[in-house]
Protein backbone atom coordinates (compact mmCIF):
# COMPACT_ATOMS: atom_id res chain seq x y z
CA UNK A 1 0.00 0.00 0.00
CA UNK A 2 1.30 3.45 -0.91
CA UNK A 3 0.91 5.88 1.95
CA UNK A 4 -0.13 9.36 0.80
CA UNK A 5 2.43 12.11 1.00
CA UNK A 6 2.72 15.58 -0.48
CA UNK A 7 3.83 14.20 -3.85
CA UNK A 8 1.20 11.58 -4.48
CA UNK A 9 -1.76 13.24 -2.75
CA UNK A 10 -4.87 12.56 -4.83
CA UNK A 11 -7.14 15.12 -6.41
CA UNK A 12 -9.98 16.17 -4.18
CA UNK A 13 -8.08 15.43 -0.99
CA UNK A 14 -8.07 19.08 0.00
CA UNK A 15 -11.86 19.21 -0.29
CA UNK A 16 -12.25 16.05 1.77
CA UNK A 17 -9.98 17.44 4.47
CA UNK A 18 -11.77 20.80 4.51
CA UNK A 19 -15.19 19.21 4.72
CA UNK A 20 -14.10 16.80 7.45
CA UNK A 21 -12.74 19.72 9.48
CA UNK A 22 -16.02 21.60 8.98
CA UNK A 23 -17.97 18.62 10.28
CA UNK A 24 -15.76 18.33 13.36
CA UNK A 25 -16.02 22.07 14.03
CA UNK A 26 -19.78 21.99 13.76
CA UNK A 27 -20.06 18.98 16.05
CA UNK A 28 -17.62 20.46 18.58
CA UNK A 29 -19.57 23.73 18.57
CA UNK A 30 -22.75 21.73 19.10
CA UNK A 31 -21.37 20.35 22.35
CA UNK A 32 -19.90 23.71 23.39
CA UNK A 33 -23.32 25.23 22.87
CA UNK A 34 -24.82 22.94 25.48
CA UNK A 35 -22.44 24.04 28.21
CA UNK A 36 -24.32 27.28 28.84
CA UNK A 37 -27.64 25.44 28.73
CA UNK A 38 -26.81 23.05 31.59
CA UNK A 39 -29.04 24.31 34.35
CA UNK A 40 -31.02 23.28 37.41
CA UNK A 41 -33.29 21.06 35.26
CA UNK A 42 -30.25 18.95 34.41
CA UNK A 43 -29.16 18.80 38.05
CA UNK A 44 -32.66 17.79 39.06
CA UNK A 45 -32.69 15.04 36.43
CA UNK A 46 -29.46 13.62 37.86
CA UNK A 47 -30.86 13.83 41.40
CA UNK A 48 -34.05 12.04 40.37
CA UNK A 49 -32.07 9.18 38.85
CA UNK A 50 -29.75 9.04 41.86
CA UNK A 51 -32.61 8.91 44.34
CA UNK A 52 -34.74 6.52 42.29
CA UNK A 53 -35.36 3.05 43.71
CA UNK A 54 -35.99 1.73 40.22
CA UNK A 55 -34.07 1.73 36.99
CA UNK A 56 -33.47 4.22 34.22
CA UNK A 57 -35.53 3.16 31.21
CA UNK A 58 -34.05 4.85 28.14
CA UNK A 59 -36.13 5.12 25.00
CA UNK A 60 -35.73 6.65 21.55
CA UNK A 61 -35.93 5.66 17.92
CA UNK A 62 -33.62 5.94 14.92
CA UNK A 63 -30.29 7.62 15.67
CA UNK A 64 -31.62 8.76 19.05
CA UNK A 65 -32.33 5.10 19.81
CA UNK A 66 -28.74 4.20 19.04
CA UNK A 67 -27.57 7.01 21.30
CA UNK A 68 -30.00 5.70 23.92
CA UNK A 69 -28.44 2.24 23.82
CA UNK A 70 -25.03 3.74 24.40
CA UNK A 71 -26.33 5.74 27.36
CA UNK A 72 -27.82 2.52 28.81
CA UNK A 73 -24.46 0.78 28.43
CA UNK A 74 -22.61 3.63 30.14
CA UNK A 75 -25.16 3.90 32.96
CA UNK A 76 -24.94 0.16 33.64
CA UNK A 77 -21.16 0.07 33.56
CA UNK A 78 -20.96 2.98 35.96
CA UNK A 79 -23.32 1.58 38.54
CA UNK A 80 -26.79 2.85 37.54
CA UNK A 81 -29.25 0.12 36.59
CA UNK A 82 -30.66 0.83 33.17
CA UNK A 83 -32.62 -0.76 30.35
CA UNK A 84 -33.39 0.23 26.78
CA UNK A 85 -37.03 0.27 25.73
CA UNK A 86 -37.70 0.27 22.01
CA UNK A 87 -40.78 2.46 21.45
CA UNK A 88 -42.24 0.10 18.84
CA UNK A 89 -41.79 -2.92 21.13
CA UNK A 90 -43.18 -0.87 23.99
CA UNK A 91 -46.49 -0.72 22.13
CA UNK A 92 -46.48 -4.50 21.89
CA UNK A 93 -45.97 -5.42 25.51
CA UNK A 94 -42.52 -4.20 26.52
CA UNK A 95 -44.09 -1.38 28.51
CA UNK A 96 -44.58 -4.13 31.10
CA UNK A 97 -40.93 -3.71 32.02
CA UNK A 98 -41.62 -0.20 33.33
CA UNK A 99 -42.61 0.28 36.96
CA UNK A 100 -43.57 3.40 38.88
CA UNK A 101 -40.19 3.34 40.62
CA UNK A 102 -38.38 3.74 37.33
CA UNK A 103 -37.30 6.94 35.61
CA UNK A 104 -37.94 7.07 31.89
CA UNK A 105 -35.38 8.99 29.84
CA UNK A 106 -36.88 9.94 26.47
CA UNK A 107 -34.56 11.00 23.65
CA UNK A 108 -35.94 12.95 20.70
CA UNK A 109 -34.35 15.82 18.78
CA UNK A 110 -37.65 17.11 17.45
CA UNK A 111 -39.68 16.21 20.52
CA UNK A 112 -42.44 15.15 18.15
CA UNK A 113 -41.47 11.53 17.45
CA UNK A 114 -44.79 9.75 16.94
CA UNK A 115 -43.69 6.43 18.41
CA UNK A 116 -42.70 8.23 21.61
CA UNK A 117 -45.68 10.54 21.94
CA UNK A 118 -47.86 7.43 21.51
CA UNK A 119 -46.47 5.75 24.65
CA UNK A 120 -46.51 8.96 26.68
CA UNK A 121 -50.07 8.49 28.07
CA UNK A 122 -49.29 4.96 29.26
CA UNK A 123 -46.10 6.12 30.94
CA UNK A 124 -48.11 8.84 32.65
CA UNK A 125 -50.69 6.24 33.79
CA UNK A 126 -47.86 4.21 35.30
CA UNK A 127 -46.88 7.32 37.26
CA UNK A 128 -43.35 6.97 36.03
CA UNK A 129 -41.33 10.13 36.08
CA UNK A 130 -40.29 11.19 32.58
CA UNK A 131 -37.16 13.12 31.68
CA UNK A 132 -36.92 14.30 28.09
CA UNK A 133 -33.70 15.17 26.26
CA UNK A 134 -34.74 17.24 23.26
CA UNK A 135 -33.71 20.04 20.96
CA UNK A 136 -37.22 21.48 21.14
CA UNK A 137 -38.37 22.14 24.68
CA UNK A 138 -41.72 23.48 23.43
CA UNK A 139 -42.50 20.24 21.60
CA UNK A 140 -45.14 17.68 22.61
CA UNK A 141 -42.57 15.56 24.45
CA UNK A 142 -40.87 18.60 25.92
CA UNK A 143 -44.09 20.02 27.33
CA UNK A 144 -45.47 16.72 28.61
CA UNK A 145 -42.38 15.43 30.38
CA UNK A 146 -41.77 16.00 34.07
CA UNK A 147 -38.33 17.42 33.33
CA UNK A 148 -37.01 18.66 30.01
CA UNK A 149 -33.30 18.99 29.33
CA UNK A 150 -32.28 20.99 26.27
CA UNK A 151 -30.15 18.98 23.85
CA UNK A 152 -30.29 21.11 20.72
CA UNK A 153 -27.51 22.35 18.47
CA UNK A 154 -27.04 25.46 16.38
CA UNK A 155 -26.14 23.68 13.15
CA UNK A 156 -26.11 20.21 11.65
CA UNK A 157 -23.20 18.89 9.62
CA UNK A 158 -25.05 16.67 7.16
CA UNK A 159 -26.43 18.09 3.89
CA UNK A 160 -30.15 18.12 3.11
CA UNK A 161 -31.06 16.97 6.59
CA UNK A 162 -30.41 13.40 5.50
CA UNK A 163 -29.10 12.36 8.89
CA UNK A 164 -28.84 14.04 12.26
CA UNK A 165 -25.18 14.58 13.07
CA UNK A 166 -24.27 17.32 15.54
CA UNK A 167 -27.59 16.86 17.35
CA UNK A 168 -26.95 13.16 18.05
CA UNK A 169 -23.38 13.92 19.08
CA UNK A 170 -24.67 16.54 21.50
CA UNK A 171 -27.24 14.12 22.89
CA UNK A 172 -24.57 11.48 23.37
CA UNK A 173 -22.36 13.96 25.19
CA UNK A 174 -25.25 15.03 27.39
CA UNK A 175 -25.89 11.36 28.19
CA UNK A 176 -22.27 11.02 29.23
CA UNK A 177 -22.66 14.10 31.42
CA UNK A 178 -25.57 12.40 33.20
CA UNK A 179 -23.63 9.14 33.63
CA UNK A 180 -20.48 10.77 34.96
CA UNK A 181 -22.25 13.06 37.41
CA UNK A 182 -24.15 10.01 38.68
CA UNK A 183 -20.93 8.04 38.95
CA UNK A 184 -19.42 10.76 41.11
CA UNK A 185 -22.56 11.01 43.21
CA UNK A 186 -22.48 7.25 43.78
CA UNK A 187 -18.79 7.53 44.78
CA UNK A 188 -18.16 4.75 42.33
CA UNK A 189 -14.88 2.96 43.10
CA UNK A 190 -12.47 0.82 41.10
CA UNK A 191 -13.88 -2.32 42.72
CA UNK A 192 -17.37 -1.34 41.58
CA UNK A 193 -16.09 -0.86 38.06
CA UNK A 194 -14.44 -4.29 38.15
CA UNK A 195 -17.65 -5.86 39.38
CA UNK A 196 -19.46 -4.35 36.41
CA UNK A 197 -16.79 -5.45 33.95
CA UNK A 198 -16.03 -9.12 34.59
CA UNK A 199 -15.58 -9.59 30.88
CA UNK A 200 -12.91 -6.96 30.76
CA UNK A 201 -11.05 -8.28 33.79
CA UNK A 202 -11.27 -11.84 32.51
CA UNK A 203 -10.06 -10.68 29.13
CA UNK A 204 -7.02 -9.15 30.79
CA UNK A 205 -6.43 -12.33 32.79
CA UNK A 206 -6.56 -14.53 29.75
CA UNK A 207 -3.58 -12.72 28.24
CA UNK A 208 -1.39 -13.09 31.34
CA UNK A 209 1.53 -15.56 30.86
CA UNK A 210 1.54 -18.61 33.09
CA UNK A 211 4.93 -17.72 34.59
CA UNK A 212 3.35 -14.59 36.08
CA UNK A 213 0.92 -16.51 38.21
CA UNK A 214 2.29 -20.06 38.66
CA UNK A 215 3.28 -21.43 42.06
CA UNK A 216 6.97 -22.08 42.33
CA UNK A 217 9.63 -23.41 44.73
CA UNK A 218 8.36 -24.71 48.05
CA UNK A 219 4.77 -23.91 47.02
CA UNK A 220 4.84 -26.78 44.53
CA UNK A 221 3.38 -29.99 46.04
CA UNK A 222 5.86 -32.70 45.03
CA UNK A 223 7.08 -36.11 46.22
CA UNK A 224 9.59 -38.68 44.94
CA UNK A 225 8.28 -41.78 43.22
CA UNK A 226 9.26 -44.06 46.14
CA UNK A 227 7.27 -41.95 48.65
CA UNK A 228 4.46 -43.72 50.50
CA UNK A 229 0.90 -42.56 49.98
CA UNK A 230 0.69 -41.50 53.67
CA UNK A 231 3.54 -39.01 53.13
CA UNK A 232 2.03 -37.84 49.84
CA UNK A 233 -1.26 -37.07 51.58
CA UNK A 234 0.61 -34.87 54.08
CA UNK A 235 2.21 -32.97 51.17
CA UNK A 236 -1.15 -32.59 49.42
CA UNK A 237 -2.70 -31.37 52.63
CA UNK A 238 0.06 -28.85 53.25
CA UNK A 239 -0.01 -27.32 49.75
CA UNK A 240 -3.82 -27.47 49.42
CA UNK A 241 -4.09 -27.94 45.68
CA UNK A 242 -5.85 -31.31 45.77
CA UNK A 243 -2.84 -32.95 44.06
CA UNK A 244 0.88 -33.58 44.27
CA UNK A 245 3.40 -34.06 41.50
CA UNK A 246 5.58 -37.19 41.50
CA UNK A 247 9.24 -36.87 40.48
CA UNK A 248 11.65 -39.62 39.37
CA UNK A 249 15.22 -39.78 40.60
CA UNK A 250 16.65 -38.68 37.29
CA UNK A 251 13.77 -38.43 34.90
CA UNK A 252 11.99 -35.41 36.35
CA UNK A 253 8.21 -35.36 36.34
CA UNK A 254 6.77 -38.89 36.10
CA UNK A 255 3.26 -38.62 37.50
CA UNK A 256 0.61 -36.88 39.55
CA UNK A 257 -1.53 -37.99 42.49
CA UNK A 258 -4.87 -36.26 42.86
CA UNK A 259 -7.79 -36.48 45.29
CA UNK A 260 -9.49 -38.67 42.67
CA UNK A 261 -6.52 -41.06 42.60
CA UNK A 262 -6.78 -41.36 46.42
CA UNK A 263 -10.49 -42.23 46.22
CA UNK A 264 -9.87 -44.84 43.57
CA UNK A 265 -6.87 -46.19 45.56
CA UNK A 266 -8.98 -46.58 48.71
CA UNK A 267 -11.37 -48.81 46.84
CA UNK A 268 -8.55 -50.84 45.28
CA UNK A 269 -6.09 -51.29 48.20
CA UNK A 270 -6.88 -52.20 51.81
CA UNK A 271 -3.60 -50.76 53.12
CA UNK A 272 -3.33 -47.82 50.77
CA UNK A 273 -1.26 -45.63 53.10
CA UNK A 274 1.60 -48.12 52.97
CA UNK A 275 1.71 -48.29 49.20
CA UNK A 276 4.17 -46.21 47.11
CA UNK A 277 2.60 -43.31 45.20
CA UNK A 278 3.48 -45.06 41.94
CA UNK A 279 0.70 -47.56 42.70
CA UNK A 280 -2.01 -44.95 42.28
CA UNK A 281 -0.48 -42.02 40.39
CA UNK A 282 -1.54 -40.95 36.94
CA UNK A 283 1.38 -41.30 34.55
CA UNK A 284 2.51 -38.65 32.06
CA UNK A 285 0.61 -35.76 33.68
CA UNK A 286 -0.59 -32.87 31.51
CA UNK A 287 1.81 -29.96 31.40
CA UNK A 288 1.97 -26.47 30.01
CA UNK A 289 4.96 -24.43 28.91
CA UNK A 290 5.98 -21.57 31.12
CA UNK A 291 5.57 -18.98 28.30
CA UNK A 292 2.04 -20.06 27.45
CA UNK A 293 -0.93 -17.96 28.52
CA UNK A 294 -3.73 -18.41 31.00
CA UNK A 295 -6.06 -18.91 28.02
CA UNK A 296 -3.91 -21.87 26.87
CA UNK A 297 -4.03 -23.38 30.36
CA UNK A 298 -7.80 -23.03 30.53
CA UNK A 299 -8.14 -24.73 27.17
CA UNK A 300 -6.11 -27.76 28.33
CA UNK A 301 -8.00 -27.99 31.64
CA UNK A 302 -11.32 -27.82 29.85
CA UNK A 303 -10.32 -30.41 27.26
CA UNK A 304 -9.08 -32.95 29.82
CA UNK A 305 -11.47 -32.00 32.63
CA UNK A 306 -8.65 -31.39 35.12
CA UNK A 307 -7.94 -28.62 37.60
CA UNK A 308 -4.15 -28.75 37.98
CA UNK A 309 -1.34 -28.41 35.46
CA UNK A 310 2.40 -28.83 35.89
CA UNK A 311 4.41 -26.01 34.36
CA UNK A 312 7.59 -26.95 32.53
CA UNK A 313 10.46 -25.09 30.90
CA UNK A 314 11.93 -25.41 27.40
CA UNK A 315 13.75 -28.63 28.39
CA UNK A 316 10.66 -30.05 30.08
CA UNK A 317 12.14 -29.33 33.50
CA UNK A 318 9.53 -28.75 36.24
CA UNK A 319 9.21 -25.02 37.03
CA UNK A 320 5.86 -24.73 38.77
CA UNK A 321 2.25 -25.72 39.10
CA UNK A 322 -1.02 -23.97 38.32
CA UNK A 323 -4.54 -24.55 39.66
CA UNK A 324 -7.82 -23.58 37.96
CA UNK A 325 -8.58 -21.16 40.79
CA UNK A 326 -5.35 -19.30 40.10
CA UNK A 327 -6.45 -18.78 36.50
CA UNK A 328 -9.71 -17.24 37.67
CA UNK A 329 -8.04 -15.08 40.27
CA UNK A 330 -9.74 -16.86 43.14
CA UNK A 331 -6.83 -18.83 44.52
CA UNK A 332 -3.51 -18.24 46.12
CA UNK A 333 -2.35 -16.02 43.29
CA UNK A 334 -4.31 -12.73 42.96
CA UNK A 335 -4.34 -10.63 39.82
CA UNK A 336 -3.52 -7.00 40.06
CA UNK A 337 -4.55 -5.18 36.89
Amino acid sequence: MVRPNKKNIRRGAAKIIREAKDVLRIEAEGIFGLIDRIDSEFAEAVNWIYESRGRVIVTGIGKSGIVGRKIVATLNSTGTKSLFLHPAEAMHGDLGMVSSDDIVLVLSSSGETEELTAILPTLKDLRTRIICLTGNTESTLGRNSDLTVYAGVEREACPLGLAPTASTTAMLALGDAICVTLLNKHEFQLEDFRRCHPGGVLGERLRVPIEAIMRTGSSIPKVQENTLVAEAIKEMDAKALGATLVLGDTTGLVGIVTDGDLRRGLRKYERLLEKPVTAIMGKNPKTIQVKDSVADALEIMEEYQITVLAVTGPKDELLGIIHLHDLLGKGYIKFTL
Partner: protein, 312 residues
Protein backbone atom coordinates in the same frame (compact mmCIF):
# COMPACT_ATOMS: atom_id res chain seq x y z
CA UNK B 1 -50.42 31.49 21.72
CA UNK B 2 -49.09 34.46 19.77
CA UNK B 3 -47.04 33.34 16.78
CA UNK B 4 -43.43 34.48 16.95
CA UNK B 5 -42.28 36.78 14.17
CA UNK B 6 -39.02 34.86 14.04
CA UNK B 7 -39.89 31.20 13.67
CA UNK B 8 -37.34 28.47 13.04
CA UNK B 9 -37.75 27.26 9.50
CA UNK B 10 -38.10 28.37 5.91
CA UNK B 11 -38.41 32.09 5.21
CA UNK B 12 -39.06 32.80 1.57
CA UNK B 13 -37.99 36.09 0.07
CA UNK B 14 -41.15 36.77 -1.92
CA UNK B 15 -40.38 37.39 -5.60
CA UNK B 16 -41.27 41.03 -6.15
CA UNK B 17 -41.91 41.69 -9.82
CA UNK B 18 -42.36 45.43 -10.41
CA UNK B 19 -45.32 46.46 -12.51
CA UNK B 20 -43.79 48.37 -15.44
CA UNK B 21 -46.99 50.30 -15.99
CA UNK B 22 -47.58 51.34 -12.41
CA UNK B 23 -44.59 52.32 -10.33
CA UNK B 24 -44.69 51.00 -6.77
CA UNK B 25 -46.99 48.09 -7.55
CA UNK B 26 -45.98 44.50 -8.02
CA UNK B 27 -47.32 41.72 -10.20
CA UNK B 28 -48.98 38.50 -9.12
CA UNK B 29 -48.67 38.96 -5.36
CA UNK B 30 -51.94 37.20 -4.59
CA UNK B 31 -51.22 34.05 -6.58
CA UNK B 32 -47.63 33.99 -5.37
CA UNK B 33 -48.62 34.25 -1.71
CA UNK B 34 -51.18 31.48 -2.23
CA UNK B 35 -48.48 29.38 -3.93
CA UNK B 36 -46.01 29.83 -1.06
CA UNK B 37 -48.14 30.11 2.03
CA UNK B 38 -48.68 26.36 2.68
CA UNK B 39 -44.95 25.67 2.63
CA UNK B 40 -43.21 28.55 4.35
CA UNK B 41 -42.70 29.58 7.96
CA UNK B 42 -42.53 33.23 6.96
CA UNK B 43 -42.27 35.66 4.05
CA UNK B 44 -39.68 38.37 3.49
CA UNK B 45 -40.42 41.54 1.53
CA UNK B 46 -37.07 42.57 0.10
CA UNK B 47 -37.27 44.94 -2.87
CA UNK B 48 -33.53 45.52 -2.55
CA UNK B 49 -32.85 41.95 -3.65
CA UNK B 50 -35.36 41.84 -6.49
CA UNK B 51 -34.48 45.26 -7.81
CA UNK B 52 -32.06 45.26 -10.79
CA UNK B 53 -29.82 47.84 -9.11
CA UNK B 54 -29.51 47.64 -5.33
CA UNK B 55 -28.17 51.19 -5.17
CA UNK B 56 -31.19 52.62 -6.92
CA UNK B 57 -34.19 50.78 -5.62
CA UNK B 58 -36.80 52.13 -3.32
CA UNK B 59 -37.74 50.64 0.04
CA UNK B 60 -40.90 48.68 0.74
CA UNK B 61 -43.67 51.09 -0.08
CA UNK B 62 -46.69 51.69 2.14
CA UNK B 63 -48.95 50.35 -0.62
CA UNK B 64 -46.94 47.11 -0.92
CA UNK B 65 -47.07 46.54 2.82
CA UNK B 66 -50.79 47.26 2.88
CA UNK B 67 -51.42 44.80 0.07
CA UNK B 68 -49.31 42.07 1.63
CA UNK B 69 -50.92 42.47 5.05
CA UNK B 70 -54.32 41.93 3.46
CA UNK B 71 -53.05 38.93 1.47
CA UNK B 72 -51.10 36.91 4.01
CA UNK B 73 -53.09 34.71 6.35
CA UNK B 74 -53.06 36.00 9.90
CA UNK B 75 -50.38 34.26 11.86
CA UNK B 76 -47.91 33.92 8.99
CA UNK B 77 -44.77 35.84 10.02
CA UNK B 78 -43.87 38.71 7.76
CA UNK B 79 -40.39 40.17 7.47
CA UNK B 80 -40.04 43.58 5.91
CA UNK B 81 -36.81 45.23 4.79
CA UNK B 82 -36.42 48.77 6.00
CA UNK B 83 -32.85 49.47 4.89
CA UNK B 84 -32.39 52.99 3.61
CA UNK B 85 -29.35 54.88 2.41
CA UNK B 86 -28.61 56.32 5.85
CA UNK B 87 -29.41 55.72 9.50
CA UNK B 88 -31.90 58.58 9.43
CA UNK B 89 -33.64 57.33 6.31
CA UNK B 90 -33.84 53.79 7.72
CA UNK B 91 -35.51 55.09 10.88
CA UNK B 92 -37.83 57.17 8.70
CA UNK B 93 -38.85 54.12 6.61
CA UNK B 94 -39.45 52.14 9.77
CA UNK B 95 -41.68 54.89 11.19
CA UNK B 96 -43.60 55.16 7.94
CA UNK B 97 -44.28 51.42 7.71
CA UNK B 98 -45.16 51.26 11.39
CA UNK B 99 -47.83 53.84 10.67
CA UNK B 100 -49.27 51.55 7.98
CA UNK B 101 -49.47 48.72 10.49
CA UNK B 102 -51.17 50.94 13.06
CA UNK B 103 -53.57 52.23 10.43
CA UNK B 104 -54.56 48.65 9.53
CA UNK B 105 -54.53 47.64 13.20
CA UNK B 106 -52.02 44.99 12.25
CA UNK B 107 -50.02 43.72 15.22
CA UNK B 108 -47.95 41.08 13.56
CA UNK B 109 -46.27 38.68 13.61
CA UNK B 110 -43.92 41.07 11.86
CA UNK B 111 -40.22 41.85 12.05
CA UNK B 112 -38.15 44.51 10.32
CA UNK B 113 -35.05 43.39 8.41
CA UNK B 114 -32.09 45.69 7.97
CA UNK B 115 -28.64 45.44 6.39
CA UNK B 116 -26.87 47.98 8.59
CA UNK B 117 -23.53 47.99 6.80
CA UNK B 118 -25.31 49.27 3.70
CA UNK B 119 -25.31 52.69 5.31
CA UNK B 120 -23.52 52.43 8.67
CA UNK B 121 -20.18 51.19 9.96
CA UNK B 122 -19.73 48.76 12.83
CA UNK B 123 -18.81 51.64 15.07
CA UNK B 124 -21.85 52.92 16.91
CA UNK B 125 -24.14 50.25 15.50
CA UNK B 126 -25.58 49.15 18.88
CA UNK B 127 -26.52 52.77 19.60
CA UNK B 128 -28.13 53.18 16.18
CA UNK B 129 -30.20 50.02 16.74
CA UNK B 130 -31.26 51.21 20.19
CA UNK B 131 -32.55 54.39 18.52
CA UNK B 132 -34.26 52.40 15.80
CA UNK B 133 -35.94 50.00 18.20
CA UNK B 134 -37.19 52.90 20.27
CA UNK B 135 -39.26 53.90 17.22
CA UNK B 136 -41.03 50.59 16.78
CA UNK B 137 -42.96 47.97 18.68
CA UNK B 138 -41.84 45.19 16.34
CA UNK B 139 -38.70 43.09 16.47
CA UNK B 140 -35.69 43.67 14.25
CA UNK B 141 -33.48 41.23 12.35
CA UNK B 142 -30.01 42.25 11.22
CA UNK B 143 -28.85 41.13 7.81
CA UNK B 144 -25.16 40.46 7.23
CA UNK B 145 -24.51 40.40 3.50
CA UNK B 146 -20.81 40.96 2.76
CA UNK B 147 -21.21 40.36 -0.99
CA UNK B 148 -23.84 43.07 -1.27
CA UNK B 149 -21.69 45.51 0.69
CA UNK B 150 -18.73 44.67 -1.52
CA UNK B 151 -20.85 45.02 -4.66
CA UNK B 152 -22.15 48.48 -3.83
CA UNK B 153 -18.62 49.62 -3.08
CA UNK B 154 -19.37 50.78 0.42
CA UNK B 155 -16.53 52.80 1.86
CA UNK B 156 -16.88 51.34 5.36
CA UNK B 157 -13.88 49.48 6.65
CA UNK B 158 -15.59 46.09 6.87
CA UNK B 159 -18.06 44.10 4.83
CA UNK B 160 -19.27 42.05 7.79
CA UNK B 161 -20.87 42.88 11.10
CA UNK B 162 -18.08 42.26 13.58
CA UNK B 163 -18.66 39.33 15.90
CA UNK B 164 -18.05 41.48 18.96
CA UNK B 165 -20.60 44.01 17.68
CA UNK B 166 -23.16 41.27 17.03
CA UNK B 167 -22.65 40.08 20.58
CA UNK B 168 -23.62 43.53 21.82
CA UNK B 169 -26.53 43.76 19.40
CA UNK B 170 -27.90 40.42 20.59
CA UNK B 171 -28.27 41.87 24.06
CA UNK B 172 -31.01 44.15 22.75
CA UNK B 173 -34.15 42.23 23.71
CA UNK B 174 -35.99 43.05 20.49
CA UNK B 175 -33.13 42.36 18.13
CA UNK B 176 -34.34 38.86 17.41
CA UNK B 177 -31.73 37.45 15.06
CA UNK B 178 -29.31 37.79 12.20
CA UNK B 179 -29.39 36.54 8.64
CA UNK B 180 -25.86 35.60 7.68
CA UNK B 181 -24.96 35.22 4.01
CA UNK B 182 -21.24 34.50 4.34
CA UNK B 183 -18.87 31.71 5.16
CA UNK B 184 -19.33 28.91 7.66
CA UNK B 185 -16.49 30.05 9.93
CA UNK B 186 -18.10 33.43 10.60
CA UNK B 187 -21.45 31.80 11.08
CA UNK B 188 -20.03 29.52 13.78
CA UNK B 189 -18.38 32.53 15.40
CA UNK B 190 -21.70 34.41 15.39
CA UNK B 191 -23.47 31.43 16.92
CA UNK B 192 -20.83 31.18 19.63
CA UNK B 193 -21.07 34.92 20.33
CA UNK B 194 -24.83 34.90 20.88
CA UNK B 195 -25.04 31.76 22.99
CA UNK B 196 -25.91 33.79 26.04
CA UNK B 197 -29.14 34.79 24.26
CA UNK B 198 -30.88 31.48 23.51
CA UNK B 199 -33.77 33.21 21.72
CA UNK B 200 -31.49 35.01 19.28
CA UNK B 201 -31.55 33.18 15.95
CA UNK B 202 -28.84 32.90 13.30
CA UNK B 203 -30.47 32.23 9.94
CA UNK B 204 -28.60 31.12 6.85
CA UNK B 205 -28.98 33.66 4.07
CA UNK B 206 -26.91 31.56 1.71
CA UNK B 207 -29.03 28.78 0.26
CA UNK B 208 -26.03 26.63 -0.52
CA UNK B 209 -24.65 26.97 3.02
CA UNK B 210 -27.97 25.85 4.42
CA UNK B 211 -28.23 22.87 2.11
CA UNK B 212 -24.72 21.72 3.03
CA UNK B 213 -24.52 22.54 6.76
CA UNK B 214 -27.93 23.72 7.90
CA UNK B 215 -28.32 26.24 10.68
CA UNK B 216 -30.82 25.08 13.28
CA UNK B 217 -32.58 28.43 13.04
CA UNK B 218 -33.51 28.15 9.39
CA UNK B 219 -32.91 29.70 6.01
CA UNK B 220 -33.92 32.72 3.99
CA UNK B 221 -34.43 31.43 0.47
CA UNK B 222 -35.22 32.97 -2.89
CA UNK B 223 -35.37 29.60 -4.63
CA UNK B 224 -38.35 28.62 -2.47
CA UNK B 225 -40.43 30.75 -4.85
CA UNK B 226 -39.88 27.99 -7.41
CA UNK B 227 -39.87 24.86 -5.25
CA UNK B 228 -41.65 25.72 -2.00
CA UNK B 229 -42.59 22.15 -1.04
CA UNK B 230 -39.10 20.81 -1.71
CA UNK B 231 -37.59 23.59 0.34
CA UNK B 232 -40.05 22.88 3.13
CA UNK B 233 -39.13 19.18 3.11
CA UNK B 234 -35.41 19.88 3.32
CA UNK B 235 -35.81 22.59 5.95
CA UNK B 236 -38.00 20.52 8.26
CA UNK B 237 -35.62 17.61 8.02
CA UNK B 238 -32.51 19.77 8.50
CA UNK B 239 -33.99 21.39 11.59
CA UNK B 240 -35.10 18.06 13.05
CA UNK B 241 -38.60 19.45 13.10
CA UNK B 242 -40.19 16.46 11.42
CA UNK B 243 -39.54 13.16 13.14
CA UNK B 244 -42.37 10.97 11.92
CA UNK B 245 -41.04 8.62 9.29
CA UNK B 246 -43.08 5.46 8.93
CA UNK B 247 -41.16 4.75 5.73
CA UNK B 248 -37.47 5.51 6.27
CA UNK B 249 -36.33 4.35 2.84
CA UNK B 250 -39.06 6.42 1.18
CA UNK B 251 -38.11 9.40 3.32
CA UNK B 252 -34.47 9.27 2.28
CA UNK B 253 -35.44 9.00 -1.36
CA UNK B 254 -37.82 11.94 -1.01
CA UNK B 255 -35.17 14.05 0.72
CA UNK B 256 -32.56 13.15 -1.84
CA UNK B 257 -34.79 13.90 -4.80
CA UNK B 258 -36.01 17.17 -3.29
CA UNK B 259 -32.41 18.19 -2.60
CA UNK B 260 -31.34 17.33 -6.12
CA UNK B 261 -34.18 19.36 -7.64
CA UNK B 262 -33.28 22.34 -5.50
CA UNK B 263 -29.59 22.06 -6.38
CA UNK B 264 -30.28 21.65 -10.07
CA UNK B 265 -32.45 24.75 -10.21
CA UNK B 266 -29.97 26.67 -8.11
CA UNK B 267 -27.28 25.89 -10.67
CA UNK B 268 -29.40 27.57 -13.35
CA UNK B 269 -30.73 30.63 -11.51
CA UNK B 270 -27.61 31.15 -9.34
CA UNK B 271 -25.99 33.80 -11.53
CA UNK B 272 -29.06 36.07 -11.64
CA UNK B 273 -31.92 34.92 -9.39
CA UNK B 274 -33.61 38.34 -9.41
CA UNK B 275 -34.07 38.15 -13.18
CA UNK B 276 -34.54 34.42 -13.73
CA UNK B 277 -36.95 33.49 -10.92
CA UNK B 278 -39.60 36.11 -11.90
CA UNK B 279 -39.30 34.98 -15.53
CA UNK B 280 -39.92 31.35 -14.55
CA UNK B 281 -42.86 32.39 -12.36
CA UNK B 282 -44.21 34.29 -15.36
CA UNK B 283 -43.82 31.23 -17.57
CA UNK B 284 -45.84 29.33 -14.97
CA UNK B 285 -48.43 32.12 -15.11
CA UNK B 286 -48.11 32.81 -11.40
CA UNK B 287 -47.14 36.40 -12.20
CA UNK B 288 -47.47 38.46 -15.37
CA UNK B 289 -44.47 39.14 -17.59
CA UNK B 290 -42.92 42.49 -16.76
CA UNK B 291 -40.73 42.83 -19.83
CA UNK B 292 -37.44 42.83 -17.97
CA UNK B 293 -34.41 42.50 -20.23
CA UNK B 294 -32.86 39.05 -20.10
CA UNK B 295 -29.43 38.01 -21.32
CA UNK B 296 -28.99 34.94 -23.58
CA UNK B 297 -27.52 33.16 -20.58
CA UNK B 298 -30.66 33.99 -18.58
CA UNK B 299 -32.86 32.69 -21.42
CA UNK B 300 -30.96 29.42 -21.52
CA UNK B 301 -31.23 29.04 -17.72
CA UNK B 302 -34.99 29.67 -17.85
CA UNK B 303 -35.42 27.03 -20.58
CA UNK B 304 -33.46 24.52 -18.51
CA UNK B 305 -35.52 25.23 -15.40
CA UNK B 306 -38.74 24.83 -17.37
CA UNK B 307 -37.47 21.52 -18.76
CA UNK B 308 -36.96 20.27 -15.22
CA UNK B 309 -40.06 21.84 -13.72
CA UNK B 310 -42.59 22.57 -16.48
CA UNK B 311 -45.23 23.77 -14.02
CA UNK B 312 -45.46 24.78 -10.36
Amino acid sequence: MVQSATPRGLICSLALVPNPENHGLYLGLESLVAHLQPAVAGLLLDPMFWCPDANNCGPVSSSLLEEIITLVPSGLPLWVRITGTSAEQTIHICRQLETVCRHLNYRGPLAWVDTPLFYHSNRGLPEHYRNLLAETEFNLIADNDPLLIQKIGNKTKRNNIRTAVLKKLAQEPRLAGVVHRGDLGRSLNYQRAVRGQPNFLVYDGGERSFLERPSASGVVSVGANLLPQEWRTITLSSLNLDDSHPDQAGRFRHLWESGQRIRTLQKYYGHAPARIIPAVLAAWKLVQKNGQTLTPEDQKAIERILEHVPEP
